[in-house]
């Protein structure tokens, strides 16, 4: 039997004040865990890319080194980072409590994201038109999936920002809205980090295989 400490006369048995926990912190923590899971999905696709980025899996078609342009990828990277910067400026405005600043920052982030998606999806369309679509080979299947998984995240981020533009206008900075804006910031930086890894791993290392 373990020995227990003795209860003194001033021992507190109940703590009525303990209920009021910080909901924003629980929500951001939970969302951070979601991002961890999402990162694992992307890691699995990267693992496949590592396996399939091999002449054996090109099925006679091209590998990344044959059609990827590192400089164009660099341009895309700067656009993504610009979009993140724009959203970060929105969070700076959030600290000041400026609805206009938050909205402008999000609009800037959306516009840059749309430009990015235009370039990226245009590249995939051109590749498909040249006969090297996703059904051409195992490698191209994985390449398209990797790029489109990131694009899908961006798409959801854009949808989320559009909703938040309305909510900032309608509700102002309520607890719910602030929690969502903070989570969206994490999400937006997450998708940018994913792109940076795509750029390094696919665009920069891809040719060297």
């Amino acid at each position: 039997m373990a020995s227990f400490t003795k209860a003194g006369a001033d021992t507190v048995l109940w703590n009525p004040g303990a209920d009021a926990h910080d909901t924003i912190s629980a929500r951001t923590y939970g969302f951070w865990l979601y991002l961890l899971g999402d990162a694992l999905i992307i890691a699995a696709v990267f693992a496949c890319y590592a396996v399939l980025n091999n002449p054996l899996n090109a099925n006679g078609g091209p590998l990344g080194k044959d059609f990827l342009s590192a400089s164009k990828g660099m341009l895309q990277t700067f656009i993504v980072l610009g979009s993140v910067l724009s959203y970060s400026l929105a969070t700076v405005a959030l600290k000041r409590g400026s609805k206009l600043g938050v909205s402008l920052g999000m609009i800037g982030a959306i516009l840059l994201a749309v430009v990015f998606l235009g370039i990226g999806l245009g590249d995939l369309a051109a590749l498909s038109a040249a006969g090297d679509g996703f059904a051409r080979s195992g490698y191209l299947s994985c390449f398209f999936t990797l790029i489109l998984t990131h694009a899908l995240h961006m798409g959801f981020g854009i949808l989320w920002m559009l909703v938040m533009l309305v909510q900032v206008g309608v509700f102002g900075f309520t607890e719910n809205v602030v929690a969502r804006l903070l989570n969206l910031r994490m999400f937006w930086q997450f998708q940018a980090s994913v792109w940076v890894v795509v750029y390094i791993y696919v665009y920069l290392f891809g040719g060297a295989h």
Partner: protein
């Protein structure tokens, strides 16, 4: 873009035609008759007793973690029964179809199940037992117990909790409906590649399996996020990390696995889906695909998933062994370290499921050694349980019988596991029923742990104990059945019987197969005793004490029995690892709070249920390639989520007077009498 499939397709109904309904198969007709009767009885009695509104408001719309947990457990038990029936079919088929002279019935050359049907039966057995029986049972227990053990009001995200449940239900529904509309996968619960690809498997079976796993996997991931956040953020004041009860700790380890491993399955199944629907070539046999990639991804999830299931069972055993030995758990810190160690090592052993892939001696050596290392933390746990019982005051109540049996089963399953981890042994018995018997020992640990926990915590949730006599009959028949089925299976495996056979050519296996059928018959008895136990206990309803077993140690036994919907009237302050034991040692276990404060509660909502059912509609439509329905339900889900984000309902506040009144009604007279005795301490607490 979309891959053309064989057979008719219409824009309105996709591939769904009248031929999809297997009305010519007598076995399925019989099953349908039973399922329909059960459905009519359930729906009919709900209508007859005018309980539609009650079921909808109090259960389907509930965001209460205990109700959600109970619904998880009901789902798990129903699926356990269906998985058991699949097992019965496999055992009887193999007992009949031995040797070239064996008879054939119902259109089968041997036995009564044609190979194509038999393949679906074992695929469904594995999928149902692991994903839709074991997982919901353990998730349900975690849902009910973890918030109580840490003194929380509810999970961190009650609404997300309900969404997780209904997504899991959607997956289970998908499996059930595959019985009567179309077919289930014949590509094993693992999904063999490239066999599960469209060219070699053009039916809807694989799609059913894939989407059922996908949608319930989403539910499990969300639940894992919820559990971690709850444990990290919502522990009662005073509960540092080394005062967290061990069941909560294993749920933490499990949830970490859930949030990291399940996404890998999501990715693997999504790639398979792309292969089957739009014609990519991830896992094709040609076109630059790599089908071993799939099996690696699958087991990268699959092996952590095994520990995802067995770790909560270890936690259950720990709680029960300690309670029924009337001693604190031996080696509590090593228990935590062992749980986390198992969860961590679980990530680097996946390739031992296919040593025969041809990965070369270096990798085989690594995975073999890593697998053996799992034995160390598991051994630590087994010894800790034994040392907990050592010189304890042991009560052999039903939960304790289950727990002790689990330790023995773990020994058998673990030692055969160590045998299999040696790659030379594994090459010999690979894909034999020896392996099947090994992992069934392990899942019986899970099953035994769940039955132990159900008996143990039943009074906490429902307010009365389960019938002890029938519980012991259930226990002994279940154990006898297990021995009779799985000991012969070990022997048949060493005799060279391979897995998944619809026909055995070796007639010398007949005695073993017949013995296994005897075991199955004993299992049937145990099902009867289980149901009898529930019915008799429901009829008797002898009220249980607050501390139902008299030797409860952790916080959940501190609150009322049955637990009120707000859990604790006032959040307790925690002083020790075994808080209730600490209070008992100080004579404070009957102390009641002297003041109450208002409690903020989340509102019930039907939205999670609707989202789950839309998820079911979406995946069902995808199985049958009804594109409009799939698109519409997906769009509806997204719109509902957005609309909900505009909802300003922030729950409701329960006034302090209501709680005080409820507590007065719940408390027994003796408790109130005791309360006055310890009033100095309680009275002082008022000042804080």
């Amino acid at each position: 873009m979309q891959v053309a499939v064989d057979g008719p397709w219409s824009p309105l109904l996709g591939r769904l035609t009248l031929e999809a309904i297997p009305y010519t198969n007598p076995i399925l007709l019989f099953t349908f008759a039973i399922a329909a009767t059960a459905g009519i009885v359930v729906v009919g009695s709900v209508l007859y007793f005018r309980k539609v509104g009650y079921i909808w408001r109090e259960w389907l719309c509930s965001v209460d973690h205990k109700r959600i947990g109970v619904m998880y457990m009901i789902l798990g038990l129903v699926m356990l029964f269906r998985g058991f029936i699949d097992g019965v079919m496999m055992r009887t088929q193999q007992a009949i179809a031995i040797g070239p002279d064996s008879p054939g019935y119902l259109g089968a050359a041997h036995g009564y199940l044609p190979p194509y049907h038999f393949d679906q039966v074992y695929s469904a057995h594995g999928t149902l037992m692991l994903i839709f029986a074991a997982t919901p049972l353990l998730t349900g227990l975690g849902n009910i117990i973890v918030p109580l053990q840490i003194g929380a009001r509810d999970m961190a995200f009650p609404y997300l909790n309900a969404v997780s449940l209904w997504l899991t239900v959607a997956g289970a529904l998908l499996c059930m409906i595959s019985l009567f509309v179309g077919e289930f996968s014949n590509a094993t619960w693992v999904g063999l590649m490239p066999f599960a690809e469209l060219p070699s498997n053009p039916g809807v079976g694989v799609d059913y399996w894939m989407w059922a796993l996908q949608i319930s996997g989403l539910g499990t991931t969300f639940n894992a996020i919820n559990i971690i956040t709850t444990i990290v953020k919502m522990r009662a004041p005073g509960m540092g990390w080394f005062r967290v009860p061990v069941f909560t700790w294993v749920n933490m380890a499990t949830a970490i696995i859930g949030v990291t491993a399940f996404p890998v399955l999501t990715a693997a199944l999504a790639m398979l889906g792309l292969d089957r629907y739009v014609g990519t070539h991830f896992f094709s046999a040609g076109f630059g695909g790599n089908y071993m990639l799939y099996i690696n991804l699958f087991w990268t999830w699959g092996h952590p998933e095994v520990y995802f299931l067995v770790l909560p069972a270890f936690g259950l055993i720990s709680e029960i062994v300690s309670t029924f030995s009337a001693k604190s758990l031996f080696g509590y810190p090593t228990m935590i370290a062992a749980s986390m160690g198992i969860a961590g090592v679980g990530w680097v052993v996946w390739a031992h499921h296919f040593f025969t892939m041809g990965m070369g001696p270096n990798l085989i050596g690594f995975f073999s050694a890593a697998t053996m290392i799992v034995g160390i933390p598991t051994g630590v746990k087994a010894f800790n349980w034994v040392f907990t019982m050592f010189r304890g005051r042991i009560t052999l109540a039903t939960p304790m019988l289950w727990a002790i049996t689990c330790i023995l089963l773990l020994l058998v399953g673990g030692i055969t596991g160590m045998m299999l981890s040696a790659s030379v042994v594994d090459y010999t018995v690979h894909d034999s029923v020896f392996v099947v018997a090994h992992f069934h020992c392990m899942v019986l640990v899970i099953g035994g742990g769940v039955f132990a926990a159900v008996t143990y915590w039943w009074p906490k949730v429902f307010g009365f104990k389960l019938n002890e006599t029938l519980g012991q009959w259930f226990f002994w028949t279940f154990v006898a059945g297990s021995v009779l089925v799985f000991v012969p299976m070990f022997m048949a495996g060493l005799d060279g019987e391979t897995r998944r056979l619809d026909y055995l050519w070796d007639t010398s296996l007949r005695p073993l197969m017949l013995l296994e059928v005897v075991g199955i018959a004993v299992y049937f008895l145990s099902v009867f005793f289980f149901l009898a136990m529930i019915v008799v206990s429901l009829a008797k309803r002898e009220p249980a004490e607050q501390d139902a077993w008299g030797t409860g140690r952790s916080l959940e036994w501190l609150t009322q029995t049955p637990v009120p919907f707000y859990n604790f009237a006032v959040t307790p302050q925690v002083h020790a690892l075994d808080e209730l034991s600490w209070r008992k040692a100080n004579g404070l276990e009957k102390a009641q709070p002297s003041t109450y404060v208002p409690i903020h509660m989340p509102s019930s909502t039907g939205l999670p249920f609707i989202i789950g059912m839309l998820g079911f509609a979406c995946t069902f439509a995808l199985v049958w390639r009804i594109w409009w329905l799939a698109g519409a339900s997906l769009l509806a889900i997204i719109l509902l989520v957005i609309i909900r984000s505009f909802d300003k309902n922030e729950g409701y506040v329960l006034p302090a007077e209501t709680i005080a009144a409820a507590e007065r009604n719940l408390s027994t007279v003796s408790v109130i009498a005791e309360q006055s005795k310890v009033l100095p301490v309680g009275g002082h607490a008022e000042a804080h």
